[in-house]
């Protein structure tokens, strides 16, 4: 089978796009990066997930579920890689890795505070972290989040609320001034 043949499929909505098309791959990379916050690990996760998806593509009966299915594989790869990475991740590392990205961004904001958010996301329970990343950082709807994580949309909403509350409490514990509205 020629991998290029898959790219010739109609690319309409995001869901119907072949996962190994360049734009889809970029989105998957960003998803992996936002879960792992490490470029090398994210590349590994996406590469591995795409190869797996390509090999198992005949098992997917409903072509409408392409995109959530591939995203789910990426999330699963990230879980495995993240378990190892989180042990060695420290605030300084996250800050050092992200500073160039955040500094050149159009909305730099408080680089340190955003690095703290990334670090503390790692302290959340897995489900809450994944829902927050998919919803707020990846910009998925709750229906998409629910499909990727195999949850009910309402459950995803509950995880999101608890995750936001917990993350805010963790930030407040580390940065007392943040409670008073200091960005």
């Amino acid at each position: 089978m020629n991998p290029g043949a898959k790219q010739a499929e109609p690319v309409g909505s995001r869901e119907r796009e072949a996962p190994w098309s360049p734009s889809a791959r970029d989105r998957l990379f960003r998803l992996a990066y936002r879960l792992l916050w490490n470029r090398a690990d994210a590349e590994d996760a996406v590469q591995d997930a795409l190869l797996t998806a390509y090999e198992q593509s005949n098992q997917l009966r409903d072509s409408e579920k392409w995109w959530p299915w591939v995203c789910r594989i990426v999330v699963q790869r990230c879980r495995l890689l993240g378990r190892r990475a989180s042990l060695r991740r420290r605030h300084e590392q996250v800050f050092a890795e992200l500073s160039p990205i955040l500094a050149t961004a159009k909305t730099p904001g408080s680089v340190e505070l955003k690095a703290l958010v990334i670090e503390l996301l790692d302290d959340l329970p897995r489900r809450q972290r994944e829902v927050l990343v998919l919803r707020h950082l990846q910009g998925m709807t709750f229906e998409e989040v629910a499909q990727v994580l195999e949850l009910a949309p309402e459950t995803a909403r509950v995880h999101a609320q608890r995750g936001r509350e917990r993350l805010a409490a963790l930030i407040a514990r580390r940065r007392r001034s943040w409670m008073d509205g200091d960005a």
Partner: protein, 164 residues
């Protein structure tokens, strides 16, 4: 409205949109909930900024790199070959199990040949010059394969009188 309900409704409004006048009234009158909502709004804003900051990231993986990785992965065993191997392994297991359970099993017995007791004939010669005939009377014996006979000499009355 209780504060707990108000906070839940704040999150629902964030996630699903829409208007909630009752919630707004509660926030206007509750300082704690107002501070809570402000904190949450700042957090959501931070995460939105993070999304924007990382939106331009792209992997350095090229199509050629992906396809070469795919080729090396497909070299051996290919997915088709793996599938065939799975089927073959399943067949072997099923056939083996069938044969194993259907073959009648004879208990393993150490063969012990019991030699049939060959009739042992032992000739006994009794020498008694004056006695020509004997009467054999079978006597009880506790040992297997051993038959005991009591032998009584047969003598005539005349011979008996002569001996006495």
């Amino acid at each position: 409205m209780k504060c707990r309900d108000a906070r839940q409704r704040w999150h629902s409004r964030l996630d699903q949109g829409g208007l909630d006048a009752e919630l707004d009234r509660h926030l206007a009158g509750c300082e704690k909930c107002r501070a809570y909502a402000a904190r949450m709004q700042r957090l959501v804003g931070l995460m939105d900024e993070l999304r924007v900051n990382t939106d331009q990231l792209a992997p350095p993986v090229t199509d050629a790199g992906f396809h070469s990785a795919l080729r090396s992965r497909r070299a051996w065993p290919t997915p088709g070959a793996r599938q065939l191997m799975r089927i073959a392994a399943t067949i072997v297991v099923v056939v083996g199990a069938t044969l194993w359970f259907r073959t009648p099993k004879t208990p393993m017995v150490v063969s012990r040949t019991t030699e049939a007791a060959a009739p042992s004939v032992q000739g006994i010669t009794l020498r008694a010059e004056s006695i020509e005939r004997f009467i054999a009377v079978a006597a009880p014996s506790n040992e297997p394969n051993v038959q005991t006979f009591w032998l009584y000499p047969m003598v005539t009355v005349a011979e008996s009188r002569d001996r006495s």
